[in-house]
Amino acid sequence: MSPELEILAIAIVTAVAAALPGTYLVLRRTAMVSDAISHAILPGIVVAFFLTQDLNSPLLMVAAAATGVLTVVLIEALIRSRLVPEDASIGIVFPALFSIGVILISRGASDVHLDTDAVLLGELAFAPFHRLTVAGVDLGPAALWSMGAILAVNAVLILLAWKELKLATVDASLAALLGFQPLVVHYGLMTMVSVTAVGAFDAVGSILVVALMIAPPATAYLLAERLGPMIGFAVATAAAGAALGWAVALALDVSIAGAIATASGLLFAVAFLAAPQRGLLAQARRRSGQRLDFAVRMLLVHLLHHEDTPEAAEECREAGLFRHLGWREAWTRRVVGKAEQRELVARAGELVLPTEAGRHLANNAVIGFGD
C-alpha cells in the first residue's frame, strides 16, 4: 500500500477512534477537556525524560497518558467540590500543569530540544515511515496498529457499558438512584478520553485530535435525535472528514492534519446550514413557507370568527381585510389568492367567506397540530 493510502487509513481509524469518546464529551459539555489534556501532559513527558534521558523511549508516552488521567482527576475533583464551574475547573488545572512542565524544562533541560511538539507529538505525514516489524515481517505503520487497538477498545467498552454511559450522560442523579455507578462510569470514560488523546497525539498531533473529538460528534448532534444514530453519524462524519481533508492536503500539498481539521469544520458548517430539520436553511425555508401557510390559516380563523357576527359585513369585506389583520394590502391579496386557489375561501360579492373545507381546516387549524 502506498504511503499516501496508509496515511488515509491511519487518519480514518484515528478519526473514528476519537469520535467515539468525543460524542460523550460533547453531550456532557466537557469538550474542552481534550484541549486541556494536550497542554497538561508536558510535565509527565519532562519527568519521564529526566528519568530515561532518552527522547524516544516509550516511557515518555506512558507518563503522558498517566498525566492525562491525572489532569482529568484533578478537573473532576474541582467540579465535584461544586465551588467552581466546569469550564473554570478546566481553565485552572491545565495552565498549572503546563507551567510545571515549562519550569522543569527551563531549569533542567533548556538546551535539549524537548517540548510537546518535538518529543511526543507525532505527525501524520511521518506515520508511514514509522513501521512495526515483528520477526522481520513488516506489519505496516505502527500508528495504524496503535490507533486500531485504541479504536477496538473504545468500541468494545462503549458497547459493553452502553446503558450505564447513556444514563450517566443523561441524568447522573437518576443513575445513582437506580444503582448505576455514575462515578465509576465517568472516570472510565475520562480515562478512555485520555488514553485515546495521548495515543492519537503520537499518531497525528494534538490539534487534530481536539478537532476530531469535537467536530464530528457536534455535526452528528445536528443530524441525529437519539444517541445510537448520533454515534453512527459521528463515526461516518469523522471518516468522511478525514478522507476529504486527506484528499485536499494531497492536492494542495499542505499539512494533512491541518487539512483534516479544517475539513471536519467544513462538514460541521455544511450540516449547520443544510441539516434536514435543524439546519439554518431548513429553518429559513420552513419559516418563509410557514408564513404564507400561517397567513392562510389566520385568514380562515379570522373569517370563521366573524362569519355570522353582526360586524361580518365590515370584518369580512375583502377590501377591509388587510386593516383588520394588520397586513399590507399586497400581502393580504396574495394570501386571499392562495386561499382561493386551495379552495378554502370563496368570494360572495364583496365578502370573502370560508368554504366547507376552509371551515374544517380553520377548526382544526389549532387542535389538529399533532399530525
Binding site: 430539520q277 410557514q290 408564513r291 400561517f294 397567513a295 389566520m298 383588520h324 394588520g326
Partner: protein, 254 residues
C-alpha cells in the same frame, strides 16, 4: 375589535413558531386595567412564550401588542417582568438589595450608577414582600420562597402599570404564596394590571379575577366565574377527562 381606551393590554393575532409546530397561534387578548389575570393551560401550551412574546423578548411570526392603545415598545417602563425562578443562576455573587435595585436600571442612563434614592425605592419594595431584613443576605443563601419574593420586589420597584409574572407560585412555601397573593391584590386595587402564568388550577378562583385558557390557541378568556368551567377546561386540557371531573369538583390538583 373593541377599541377600549381603558384596556391596559391588547394583543392581536399574536403568532409564534419555533420549529414547524406553531407555539402560539393567532392569540387575541384584551386585559382591562386593574385586572388580575391567570394564564393556565397544559404543559407546552405556550404560557411563558405568550408573555415573553408580548414583551418582545421572543421573536413572533405575526401579531401586534398595544398598551393603553399605543403600540408597546420595550424600555419605557410600561411592563415589569418577573422571570421563572429556575431560569437564573442563583450562585451569582450579589445580595438581595442589589438584585432588587436592578429594577431601577430602566430609569437610569447608560453611565450612571444607582444611588441612595434607588436603594430606598428597593428597600420599600422589599418591605412590601416582608424581606427587608434580608437586605444584605447573599442571594445564594436564599430559599425558593425568598428568591421568588426578591424577584417580585425587583418588579415592584419598576412601578410599571402592568406586571407579568412567570410561575411565581411554583414550588414556594405556603407563607410566600400568601404574601405574593396579597401583593397582587394590592396592585390590582391600585389599578395596576397583573398577568400571571399559573399552574395550580385549584387556586385560580381564589387568587384571580379573570383567566385565559390557553393551549397554543386562546380557547377562552374572561372573568373566572363564567370562563373557568368544566367544558372549557376539557377543551383546554384535552382528553384527561377524569382529572377534569375531579378538578372541577375541586378534589385533587392538576
Amino acid at each position: 375589535m373593541i377599541d377600549d381606551r381603558s384596556a391596559a393590554l391588547e394583543v392581536e393575532d399574536l403568532t409564534v413558531a419555533y420549529s414547524d409546530q406553531p407555539v402560539l397561534w393567532d392569540i387575541d387578548l384584551v386585559v382591562p386595567a386593574g385586572d388580575k389575570m391567570a394564564i393556565v393551560g397544559p404543559n407546552g401550551a405556550g404560557k411563558s412564550t405568550l408573555i415573553k412574546a408580548a414583551m418582545g423578548l421572543v421573536p413572533s411570526v405575526a401579531g401586534e401588542v398595544r398598551v393603553f392603545g399605543r403600540p408597546f415598545a420595550k424600555g419605557n417602563g410600561e411592563i415589569a417582568y418577573v422571570p421563572q425562578r429556575s431560569s437564573l443562576e442563583w450562585d451569582f455573587p450579589t445580595d438581595v438589595l442589589d438584585v432588587v435595585t436592578m429594577g431601577t436600571y430602566g430609569s437610569l442612563g447608560w453611565f450612571s450608577r444607582p444611588g441612595a434614592a434607588e436603594r430606598d425605592r428597593a428597600r420599600a419594595a422589599l418591605e412590601e414582600v416582608t424581606m427587608e431584613a434580608f437586605e444584605r443576605r447573599p442571594i445564594a443563601q436564599l430559599s425558593g420562597g425568598q428568591q421568588q419574593r426578591v424577584l417580585l420586589a425587583r418588579a415592584l420597584v419598576q412601578e410599571a402599570p402592568i406586571l407579568m409574572l412567570d410561575e411565581p407560585f411554583q414550588g414556594v412555601d405556603a407563607p410566600t404564596e400568601q404574601a405574593i397573593a396579597a401583593v397582587l391584590d394590592r396592585l390590582s386595587d391600585e389599578g395596576k394590571t397583573v398577568i400571571v402564568v399559573h399552574h395550580d388550577l385549584q387556586t385560580v378562583p381564589e387568587y384571580f379575577d379573570s383567566v385565559l385558557l390557553l393551549n397554543v390557541r386562546a380557547i377562552e378568556s374572561g372573568p373566572v366565574a363564567d370562563v373557568f368551567t368544566e367544558d372549557n377546561l376539557r377543551l383546554t386540557f384535552g382528553g384527561r377527562v377524569g382529572v377534569l371531573a375531579q378538578l372541577a369538583a375541586g378534589e385533587i390538583d392538576s
